[in-house]
Symmetry: C2
Subunit: 198 residues, 2 copies
């Protein structure tokens, strides 16, 4: 640390409170900002303030937006009959990156986790059920773990009786890796979900 320079210490502490940024990186970033012109830091600060003040949740899908309704929900090009259910807003952006999905999203803002006191009522599940009119497939795109499996099953139990198809993302060996480096749980999922070569 640059001993006693309080503004520098405060910046390093703030930056290193962010995920994946350690003390050493935080210090390097702080010096980087100091070596830039003042305008850089001023704009950075403005961007931060406008981020938390302008971004709110879409009233339909609960993804982040700076309008009342997000660009995806209000787009005429998106198919209204397919709904992809995700845990958080960041998941929307990762799925959008694939350019594979042209339906709508619904962000749950968490998964059911009774151990941590997160019950179905804490999530946007009621809001999901209320917007299923006209939907013929709900795709559950949650992370492959126990809490998400419980959540998926809970949703399936509610949605299936409505006569709507409910699917989930395939689990298996990620592209670019090999069987050798897959853990056995992943491998057994990949076996379970094996597909016919046609």
């Amino acid at each position: 640390m640059n001993k006693g320079v309080e503004s520098i210490e405060r910046m390093v502490d703030t930056l290193s409170s962010l995920p994946t940024i350690g003390k050493k990186s935080a210090r390097r970033l702080t010096y980087f900002i100091l070596n830039k012109d003042k305008e850089f830091a001023t704009k950075f600060a403005e961007t931060l303030v406008s981020l938390v003040n302008n971004v709110n949740l879409c009233q339909k899908c609960f993804n982040f937006t700076d309008d009342d309704i997000c660009k995806i929900c209000s787009s005429e090009k998106r198919k209204k009959n397919k709904l992809c259910v995700v845990e958080g807003p960041s998941d929307v952006s990762y799925i959008e990156d694939t350019n594979e999905f042209s339906g709508l999203y619904h962000v749950l803002h968490g998964v059911i986790n009774p151990m941590n006191g997160i019950n179905p009522d804490d999530l946007k599940i009621r809001e999901l059920i209320s917007r299923l009119g006209g939907v013929d497939e709900v795709i559950i795109a949650l992370n492959p773990n126990v809490e998400s499996d419980i959540t998926a099953q809970y949703l399936a139990n509610m949605i299936k009786p409505l006569g709507i198809k409910i699917t989930k993302l395939a689990s298996g060996i990620p592209l670019g890796t090999s069987i050798e480096y897959s853990d056995s749980a992943t491998l057994s999922r990949a076996l379970e979900g094996r597909v016919v070569i046609e």
Copy 2:
């Protein structure tokens, strides 16, 4: 990207303009900030503004400080007869971390690099020479590269005639690595600078 959410896009762009932060990390950090309470971003912004507004250069050593004279220069505990010359303010903090040096510093704010148009007059060299009264050793702690070697030689030519001892950091094999993984330039420096085992 969360398409169309301009405040998010701007934050991602700003964060990914920082060194070692790619688009994907920037996005993760942006979502992290959004998931925190508003106060976190507001404080972050204030820290940034106060960083660039409060931090300036020490009038003696040209290290960053939020006073006129930095804590090191104004400390009574530091030895005034040893001066360690570094390229940038961050180098001061790295050397301070070692707890090995109890003298004063002088920050050059760069090294001589005629290719990039950086001449001795662009650095704090005149200021260095003017504060050598009472100094009996100048330690050149510059990075091991050609420009720094040129700068070190330039400084030596100016300082030696004043009867002041001038030293530089030892080059060699870093601790924790092995000869096998050292490049030959480092290895030849280590040979050159070999020390007697007593």
